[in-house]
Symmetry: none
Subunit: 419 residues, 2 copies
């Protein structure tokens, strides 16, 4: 079966100049894939009207064209005008939409202590849509719009990723897009997450298991020391997917840590919540990243209580109670100090489980004995201790990020029932 | 002067599906900009030949077309064949290039303990180029290629970012690209960074100052509550840029915090370093993000000493010395507790300057009096106290990120000399 094709058109000068990474194109692409569409092209253009018009003209040749950006109130924001031109539709004011945007803009003007009159022309512009377009309501002050040109369903959403993602479900639910989606079938998606194994070993396991194809498409993606594998399974290919997955997992079982989208920090918090235990961290080279990742999860506070970021040695002694003698004898980057930091955090923070990280993040501070990338980690909990020495490749940014991921996976392992 | 236009075409199935972020497009775009080219569009397509051909056909309408990917030995790798077709050139074997790729492939076959004969057809394919193309030599087993079609200089480099970046300087140095670059001049770039002002007010100030054009191009970009403005100035337009910048800055002076690429955390650390002062943080809702951002800067350790992440109230009392009575009377999210946290961190961590953050990050925990997004911040240092109450829009992720940025800018302001 051939799937309806989706073209993606993203506009933003800073994106086409490479100054900011585009998040909307990849978001649209992943969503299109899961809806059963075939994401065929992703084009980024700046605010040059000719470039945007050419990209839209090409994009409208697909069954669906997903557009982001250029919906603001200023003269540079020309997406709607150009969509109308390429679709051959006149522009017309949507009075209900205008009232909706006006309300938001009046509140904003008030907060900024400015005259609403300054905003009025922008509001009228933002409420002017191609004839026949459906408004999806607004995020920020920009509306989401769906237009069926007859040969292509065009979805136009605002450029800020949060606003685009907020309006996307309404675009999916809209009549025009639902009519396209009725012509296709959604594949199902199976998620496998691994830690502690290389991407090439996972690729080899897949090839040895027979590889993908025949209704099962497999993607392997390395993300911050984890390997994320997705199986996209066409309707009817479940038996083939089961067989492939079984053979593929056989040599990788020990590295599998998840079969859904939950992050390692969510898994750790969930385990501890079930055990009724509390958690704290003691961080040196990660400087708070482990705590920040744990607290990124809503509702973390019932498990995660706090952290002591002991960057300076005097904080390690003062706030964590690491003995001066231990620092003098072994150095701040050592298994002994990592253990002492974890025990200190457990006691001082009054938590059940504590994890510590101390290492050389670089770029300075490395020595032949303790090179940049050397990291010691330690977990202490009611059932005992677990420690790890690891040498991580990469620059300062990567060493810190990978240290934090390693700490979270060490925590996860420490919480698993003993085999 | 109008600059030569550069179109960028990137091929890769995993990229068009949003499964992996494209790094080559932004790299090409930044490099093109600095060379004096105008990066006009960036198109990502999968391995469908029709999509790639259409993207190349559109790209060849620019003065320069920068292509990446699809140069491997397999039948899916069709970039060279399609470049030849769109350029109307026959394919021909480059015997010198074939010998070069053969050498690498023979070594590889040996290491893999496989017959070279298995590789030979791929080698011949990879050494077959459009008539008139210039080989740039190889990275991995894939060659870089430059082709002048008469109206467009096409650069084709391998997809792996390391290989592409390795061959890029040779593409820049090649005759065809040098002939295009001789028609343009490299612009200079001026950077202005603002905090505490909306993107629309900055856009208005620019319009009131006469707007860009006449050799000065201005981009305005909102990033995590900061507004980053770049002026791209053509040679000869410096006087125009000076005048525009002066008029533009007049109403925005109070919000300007930087004229270079340094982040707010770098500025804070530099100020404190110059003053010979140390820094610590006390964080509740940000959960360590402020400390993590400060320690993302190499060499932070001479200024930043540590942090207490006091997520639970018992940590606020135990580790920071916030009185129980204060928590009972005002609640954890209050100006009084923020002040007490900052003072507690200053004392307990033994630092000169401390900043605290406490707020409702959501999604749960909001009340009519203290809604999600309400955040209190406090800085205490040798010269006194500075406090801030702010209501931040957005979801949990945004409230936390914006709280951290607000804390860093409050720190920055507290370190500025009094007016």
């Amino acid at each position: 079966m051939s799937r309806p094709r989706a073209a993606i058109v993203v506009t933003g000068s800073e994106l086409v100049r490479g100054e900011r990474a585009d998040l909307n194109g990849p978001f649209y692409a992943r969503e299109a894939l899961l809806l059963g569409l075939d994401p065929a092209s992703l084009t980024i253009v700046g605010d040059d009207a000719g470039d945007l018009e050419a990209a839209l003209r090409e994009g409208f040749r697909s069954d669906v064209c997903l557009v982001s950006g250029g919906l603001g109130p200023t003269h540079d924001d020309r997406t709607i005008e150009l969509v109308a031109r390429v679709a051959g539709r006149p522009l017309e004011l949507d009075p209900a939409l205008e009232r909706e945007i006006e309300q938001v803009s009046r509140r904003f003007a008030e907060r900024m202590k400015r005259e609403y009159a300054d905003f009025a022309p922008g509001v009228t512009k933002q409420a002017t849509l191609p004839e026949g377009a459906v408004s999806l309501g607004i995020a920020g002050t920009a509306p989401g719009v769906v237009l069926d040109t007859g040969s292509c369903v065009v979805v136009v959403l605002p450029g800020p990723p949060g606003e685009l993602q907020q309006l996307w479900p309404r675009a999916v639910a809209s009549g025009p897009l639902q009519r396209v989606l009725a012509l296709t079938t959604r594949p199902t998606r199976r998620v496998l997450r691994f830690y502690g194994v290389s991407e090439s070993l996972v690729a080899k396991a897949l090839a040895d298991a027979g590889g993908d194809g025949d209704g099962v498409e497999v993607t392997i993606c390395a993300r911050e020391f984890e390997i994320h594998v997705d199986l996209i399974v066409e309707p009817g290919a479940d038996a083939r997917a089961d067989a492939l997955q079984k053979a593929f997992l056989e040599p990788l079982k020990q590295f599998l840590f998840g079969r859904d989208e939950r992050s390692v920090q969510e898994l750790v918090l969930q385990s501890l919540r079930e055990q009724g235990r509390t958690l704290g961290t003691a961080e040196s080279c990660t400087g708070g990243i482990v705590a920040a990742r744990l607290t990124s999860v809503g509702g973390a506070s019932d498990v995660f209580r706090g952290s002591i970021v002991a960057y300076g040695n005097e904080i390690k002694t003062g706030a964590l109670g690491v003995p001066d003698s231990l620092l003098a004898e072994h150095g701040a980057v050592s298994a002994e100090v990592a253990a002492s930091m974890a025990h200190g955090a457990r006691e001082r923070l009054g938590v059940d489980v504590a994890v510590s990280v101390t290492g050389v993040a670089g770029p300075a501070g490395g020595t032949p004995e303790k090179p940049v990338g050397l990291v010691f980690l330690h977990v202490v909990g009611p059932t005992g201790d677990l420690s790890l020495r690891i040498e991580l490749p990469g620059d300062r940014h990567l060493v810190r990020a990978r240290s934090a991921v390693t700490a979270l996976h060490l925590l996860r392992r420490s919480l698993e029932p003993p085999v």
